[in-house]
């Protein structure tokens, strides 16, 4: 290892052009719905019009009589349950006997044309017996609510979590100020531009392939294996580039499984592209979350202890919900030093489309509560909100009260940058009425430290094949969803080998051909795939260097790989073209190929639940938002957002800034307008619970006209675990936006809106409340009563704990956690 040739990078850190840019500006990128094959048939799903009902009977006769109709599937054809998490295998490709939300699929129909399939779907008669629906968290907690599933922890409480790190009550007693808030974060949806689409293709040998818009081909592969009952080796999943994902294409979906099953039955390619309405039914978006936050502060603003309670409206199925629930509590201590911490979380089943992971997955809701409460504490204590944050930022390398290991942390610099940029010190609290500034911070994972299926296998793998032409083929399971992962993969390899992006051919997201990468979720790709790519490329470089050094009679340390050449550092004119160097190495070693893989470091937490939250590194962000609030109408205008993001190191500043701006955009949508809301139909229509806005026209999202000026600062503090020091950027910068906006509204008009999205009437009501002598607040008034049980007690690092719970057996927790399993045996 000591004989490494000198790297001389040309790519990393520059705004090189995306490898997929030309295809995208010419309309030549092949998204799943752009694929068509001879003899393909079209599939449609018949979905439930009821939010909760028993299926009495299905009558296909009229549909079967239509010309062009070639096949049907019903629940009995796909009886095996699936789900993204091993603990919630509660979905069926088609409902078995009960439908649990409007849009739950019941029958699949295939026909020669899309029109015929659509008409046939309309003619399928399903007789339903409507059931009493569960419409909200409160209704789900009622002892009389009939459980939607048999696997919930209790009634309709899908998951109940309670854990305590240190003596929180003692911490609160030591505080000079204890704030208690109830806040609400409304659900919202990803709204990717591309509807989910799939093309399933049966092969002549009985194998089945599916080309799909999925962020997680590996997990779809697993779900298909289970439901189709075929060996994984007989199923091929290829993820086409996604036309946006944001978490909405991270679950295996009904339509994908049905398309594969239908294709096997018909022995013809089967195509489906969801309608926009169906995308709203697939959902898996942000969980509507009620939060109760109680925090103790010293006079100087430092936190003594915190108790967070969350309640998530989960919708009709498990999806990622167990992880989402843990995530509402997991990252609460990685920004500021919270010395003692208790978290109680619960997820409730309701008869709505299932919620899941959306950009920030479970963390924007509690982050909103925390950052707004910090603002209230700063006001109450007479401390500048930026200062209050700065004085308790976690130090680099800290282990939090809940046993997460913080790596590099550039949060202080992020705060300093936005404070300076916005002239915070001169302007905050001093602007005219109706005009204000607010600050907030956030943190996010650079990849989940644990895989969804507990094992010790790598999270990402990269294979490299070197061609005599000097071309390099790179194989990886990663999935391009617009974030630029293809470009980062190519750049990492090009950087190490000193070649150009044009020399690289990518083969990605194909379970037949590429090594597993777990998927484009949890902001894991740059860090994990990047490290795997660097390892594979370094191994390739070392092979070439060894052969070339032998031939040139030089030590390998003198060789430089740059400008598509391999040359002597001390005599740059002497060397070989990269292609010649590859040929020398191939002659010396035979066909050239290398692999690289990445497995995250082990987490220090060993208690049950410690598996959610660990990450090889955390990214940090801070934002200041300027608002103008019209006190007559309650309308909020955002002229400027200043945002700083601790990226570790920018592999490509243009791509990084694009992700930051995109996060600001999506965050403003969540803060001001986006909501997945439901309404009840009148009693004459069974009080059915239906989606208010299953269309792009009515689901309001920001347009060009709504976008403020965004000033972005990138803070570079390379993280030792990141590829070239890089951390994530796709999700973290969204987190400070919602709380910074609400804090700015307070600065502007002196009232609090403790929920998002903030709508004009909320501000008007809070202003009215203040005029009448109230506190001037709009938000939820109470938190439902729920016995979360005896908390799992885990002593903190400062208390001398070892990362384990002290009462696991006492409270009946059996089985360990992945983080506590013996390490995998690794070959030397």
């Amino acid at each position: 290892m000591s004989e490494k040739p000198t790297p001389k990078g040309a790519m990393i850190g520059t705004s090189f052009r995306r490898v997929d840019a030309v295809a995208k500006v010419t309309g030549r990128t092949r998204f799943a719905d752009d694929l068509n094959l001879p003899r393909q048939v079209h599939m449609k799903l018949v979905r439930s019009p009821h939010p909760y009902a028993r299926i009495r009977s299905i009558d296909l006769a009229a549909a079967k009589a239509l010309p062009g109709v070639v096949g049907f599937l019903t629940g009995k054809d796909v009886p095996e349950p699936f789900g993204i998490l091993p603990v919630s295998q509660d979905e069926h490709a088609l409902c078995q006997d009960v439908v649990r939300f409007v849009g739950d699929p019941v029958v699949a129909v295939a026909a020669l044309t899309e029109d015929q399939a659509e008409e046939a779907a309309r003619l399928v008669k399903v007789d339903y017996e409507p059931l009493e629906t569960v419409g909200s968290i409160e209704e789900g907690l009622l002892p009389t609510s009939a459980p939607l599933h048999g696997h919930a922890d209790e009634g309709n409480i899908h998951k109940k979590i309670t854990m305590q790190f240190g003596d929180v009550e003692a911490g609160l007693r030591e505080a000079d100020l204890v704030l208690e808030d109830v806040m609400f974060y409304e659900g919202n949806t990803h709204l990717p531009m591309e509807q989910h689409a799939s093309l399933a293709v049966p092969e002549g040998d009985g194998r089945i392939g599916i080309w799909s818009s999925t962020q997680t081909p590996h997990y779809l592969h697993r779900a298909l294996t289970k439901v189709l009952g075929l060996p994984a080796s007989r199923i091929r999943v290829v993820a086409q580039p996604n036309g946006g994902g944001f978490g909405g294409k991270s679950d295996p979906f009904h339509h994908e499984i049905c398309a594969a099953k239908m294709a096997l039955n018909l022995r013809r390619p089967v195509k489906i592209c969801l309608t926009r309405e169906e995308v709203f039914f697939c959902h898996r978006g942000r969980h509507p979350t009620l939060m109760h936050l109680r925090t103790g502060f010293k006079k100087d603003g430092t936190i003594t202890a915190q108790h967070l309670k969350t309640m998530l409206d989960g919708g009709g199925y498990g999806s990622y919900g167990v992880a989402s629930t843990y995530y509402t509590g997991a990252l609460q201590c990685v920004t500021y030093d919270v010395p003692r911490y208790r978290f109680d979380g619960a997820r409730i089943f309701t008869n709505k489309p299932p919620c899941g992971p959306k950009r920030g997955h479970g963390t924007p809701q509690p982050r909103f509560a925390l950052e707004v409460q910090l603002d209230k504490a700063a006001v109450a204590l007479g401390i500048d909100p930026a200062e209050l944050r700065l004085k308790q930022v976690q130090p680099a390398g800290a282990i939090t009260a809940n046993w997460l290991k913080v790596g590099s942390i550039g949060l202080k610099e992020c705060i300093d940058r936005v404070v300076a940029g916005s002239a915070w010190k001169e302007r905050r609290g001093r602007l005219p009425f109706g005009h204000g500034l607010g600050i907030a911070c956030g943190a996010y994972l650079c990849g989940a430290g644990l895989p969804i299926y507990w094992n010790h296998l790598p999270h990402s793998g990269v294979q490299i094949k070197l061609d005599r032409s000097g071309g390099v083929a790179v194989f990886c399971g990663e999935t391009e969803i617009g974030q630029g992962s293809d470009s980062i993969l190519a750049a990492c390899v090009a950087e190490i080998l000193g070649i150009a992006l044009e020399d690289i051919r990518l083969c990605v997201a194909d379970t037949d051909l590429t090594p597993v990468d777990l998927g484009s979720y949890s902001s894991r790709v740059t860090l994990m795939m990047g490290n795997a790519a660097i390892q594979a490329a370094e191994r390739a470089r070392d092979l070439i260097a060894k052969a070339v050094a032998e031939e040139m009679k030089l030590p390998t340390t003198r060789l430089v790989f740059a400008d598509r050449r391999v040359f002597d550092a001390e005599n740059p004119g002497v060397g070989k073209s990269f292609a010649e160097a590859v040929q020398v190495a191939e002659a010396r070693f035979g066909t050239l190929g290398t692999t690289g893989s990445y497995t995250p470091p082990r987490s220090p937490g060993k208690y049950r639940g410690a598996g959610v939250g660990p990450s090889p590194a955390y990214s940090y962000s801070a934002a200041v938002i300027e608002v103008k609030v019209d006190p007559e109408t309650g309308i909020v205008e955002v002229p400027t957002v200043w945002i700083a993001h601790d990226i570790g190191r920018s592999l490509n500043p243009t791509l990084v800034v694009g992700q930051v701006e995109g996060s600001v955009y999506m965050g403003l949508g969540e803060a001001l307008m986006e909501e997945s809301a439901f309404r009840r139909l009148p009693k004459s229509r069974s009080r059915a619970l239906v989606h208010k806005f299953p269309s792009m026209l009515e689901y309001k999202s920001p347009t060009f006209v709504d976008m403020p000026k965004v000033v972005t600062y990138l803070v570079e503090d390379p993280d030792p675990n990141g590829p070239f020091g890089a951390k994530e950027v796709g999700q973290g910068p969204l987190l400070p936006i919602m709380p910074a906006l609400c804090n700015a509204i307070y600065d502007a008009v002196g009232v609090r809106v403790d929920q998002v999205p903030v709508q004009p009437h909320m501000i008007l009501k809070a202003l009215e409340d203040k005029r009448r002598g109230g506190v001037g607040r709009f938000g939820p008034k109470s938190f439902p009563k729920l016995d979360y049980g005896t908390p799992l007690m885990v002593p903190t690092p400062k208390e001398g704990g070892d990362g384990r719970a002290v009462n696991a057996e006492e409270i009946g927790i059996k089985g360990g956690t992945m983080t506590d399993r013996p390490a995998a045996r690794t070959s030397p």
């Binding site: 792009m696 999202s701 006209v705």
Partner: protein, 208 residues
């Protein structure tokens, strides 16, 4: 903001388009998934081969013939029949701009145009912009400013930006905002798109 609390069965735009022009009464009233009752089967129309029309139009500079079904949109015809998949289907109701093409030089949402209505007219799609292997200046601008992330809105976005520059070679930022406010980009690439338009404007005036 909230839709009226109607008890009437929903009317699906897509179903309505399919039904338009057919002789059966009430054919457009197609049940949406939120309606709680079943539509009587007899009211649902079936399409027959007789309901197709042969049309001729200019597509990306080439005279093109197509057999289009009654009620099919220009978007469906381009994507499904003529294999021009660069134009994207997104909202299917004219609210996102992803399917923007030019009809006689003007930007239109191709999901809202009946295919039969383009007979004898000129259509330009994203596939028709590059000439002799050279990108159109708007495409070059998007490339130069990295104005795509997922790229799904990009073709429609480029067509809207081109329409803007065709009628206004030097748009201000506000004019640009207004002109493309009907195009949604969920990746939030808006700033790069503004810069791409500026870059394209320079290129179109012969600058570099």
């Amino acid at each position: 903001m909230h839709p009226p609390d109607s008890e009437k069965p929903g009317l699906s735009r897509r179903g309505f388009l399919k039904g338009t022009g057919l002789s059966v009464a009430a054919v457009g009233l197609v049940k949406s998934a939120t309606a709680a009752q079943e539509a009587p089967a007899a009211e649902v129309p079936t399409l027959s081969a007789a309901q197709t029309h042969e049309i001729s139009f200019e597509l990306n500079g080439q005279t093109t013939q197509a057999k289009v079904r009654t009620g099919h949109t220009l978007l469906e015809t381009l994507r499904d029949q003529l294999d021009l998949t660069g134009t994207k289907l997104v909202c299917d109701q004219g609210s996102c701009g992803a399917c923007t093409v030019h009809l006689d030089g003007k930007p239109v949402n191709s999901c809202l145009v009946f295919a039969t209505d383009v007979a004898g007219r000129q259509i330009t799609t994203i596939e028709g912009l590059a000439k002799n292997g050279n990108l159109h200046p708007v495409q070059a601008g998007f490339l130069h400013e990295d104005a795509s992330q997922c790229g799904f809105c990009t073709p429609g976005m480029i067509m809207s930006c081109k329409a803007l520059l065709d009628r206004n070679p030097s748009p201000t930022r506000d004019e640009c905002k207004e002109a493309i406010s009907g195009n949604i980009c969920r990746c939030g690439t808006y700033f790069n798109i503004f810069r791409a338009v500026d870059h394209a404007a320079t290129l179109m005036k012969g600058g570099r």
